[in-house]
């Protein structure tokens, strides 16, 4: 990891709509040294009058990529996310620095099973881990439990369906908490101890656990896992606030 952080000018290489409110921004970052799955990229916008707004986004792409992908949810009254999801075009330039953060990362070096618990756009850093796992053809038993409002709000839906269908040890479990498509037979309630006890690894499996989502979601999931007997030291959490937009 680069020790001294410096801002670099990245160029937008591509944009992909993920859902109605979520877009992936693909960046070419000069001299990118690679990153670890789960790390962040800081992004800074400067207005003509010099006013600056800075945000830290989870990197969505696998660690081996030469490009860096950020997946951004549009927050209606946000300062940065409406710009990234509505205004930015290919070829535009953005100031970035990173990668940063070595706490919420999965390096794929452990054989312990992995439990990924996502609330909404909290799936982004967990997707970097799932992509890294797939890229390395890892067979580490992994479960992703993903809580979304509706089927249309599931980010990376097609890719998750594909990765989960490869029978290589990755299971993807959804719970759709607001609306469900006709004939939906999956889970519909918010993630709680009872749901986790049904679908998560058991404490004796000693999973490495990563939980990412809005603060209240993370608090509930982490507390439920501890209540079920999971080792708090093996549960890593990443909360994102409501004003992060």
């Amino acid at each position: 990891m680069k020790r001294v952080l410096t801002w670099a000018v990245a160029t937008v290489a591509d944009l992909r709509a993920e859902t109605a409110h979520v877009k992936t921004v693909v960046l070419d970052v000069p001299d990118w040294q690679g990153h670890r799955a789960g790390q962040h990229l800081d992004l800074r916008l400067t207005a003509e009058d010099g006013y600056q707004a800075q945000r830290s986004y989870s990197i969505a792409s696998a660690a081996d990529g030469r490009q860096v992908e950020l997946t951004v949810e549009r927050i209606e009254d946000g300062e940065v996310s409406p710009y990234l999801t509505e205004v930015v075009r290919s070829g535009d330039q953005l100031e970035v620095r990173g990668p940063v953060g070595g706490y919420f990362v999965w390096d794929g070096t452990s054989e312990r099973p992995v439990l990924l618990v996502a609330g909404g756009s909290g799936v982004v850093p967990l997707m970097a881990m799932a992509r890294q796992r797939a890229g390395e053809r890892s067979s580490v038993p992994t479960r992703l439990i993903y809580s979304a409002r509706s089927w249309d709000d599931v980010i990376y839906r097609d890719e998750l369906e594909r990765l989960g269908g490869q029978c290589d040890g990755l299971d993807v479990v959804y719970t759709l908490t607001r609306t469900q498509p006709a004939g939906w037979t999956g889970h519909t309630r918010r993630i709680d101890a009872s749901l986790l006890s049904d679908v998560a690894w058991q404490p004796e499996d000693q999973p490495l656990t990563f939980v990412c989502g809005p603060t209240p979601f993370v608090e509930i999931v982490a507390a439920a896992l501890v209540e079920l007997g999971h080792d708090p030291a093996s549960i890593k959490t990443e909360r994102f606030g409501p004003t992060g937009g």
């Binding site: 990891m1 020790r3 001294v4 952080l5 790390q39 962040h40 800081d42 600056q52 800075q54 830290s56 620095r97 990173g98 940063v100 953060g101 070595g102 706490y103 919420f104 809005p214 603060t215 209240p216 608090e219 890593k236 959490t237 990443e238 909360r239 994102f240 606030g241 409501p242 004003t243």
Partner: protein
């Protein structure tokens, strides 16, 4: 919005911490000067919406790290930390 929603993890401040310390402090282990609890800085309680960055102990909520920046200089208060263990 609930004030509780503003509570993030130390990991959310990874960029600023690395800017100040030129090291990945989120993976460093901090010991609270108040209660003696030890945690990785990335797992501590962080408030990033304050005028500066405030990092608190997850056990006793004592203030461990405060950083205020004006864009050029950083004002760093580590008086709440007993120790900070960096490196492999």
């Amino acid at each position: 919005m609930d004030a509780r929603d503003l509570v993030l993890d130390g990991n959310a401040a990874a960029g600023l911490l690395q800017e100040v310390f030129s090291a990945d402090v989120t993976a460093a282990e901090g010991t609270c000067g108040g209660c003696g609890a030890t945690d990785l800085v990335g797992a501590l309680v962080a408030y990033t919406q304050a005028p500066g960055l405030v990092i608190r102990c997850r056990q006793c909520e004592a203030v461990l790290i405060r950083i205020v920046t004006d864009g050029r200089r950083h004002w760093v208060d580590l008086s709440g930390l007993r120790t900070l263990q960096l490196g492999g």
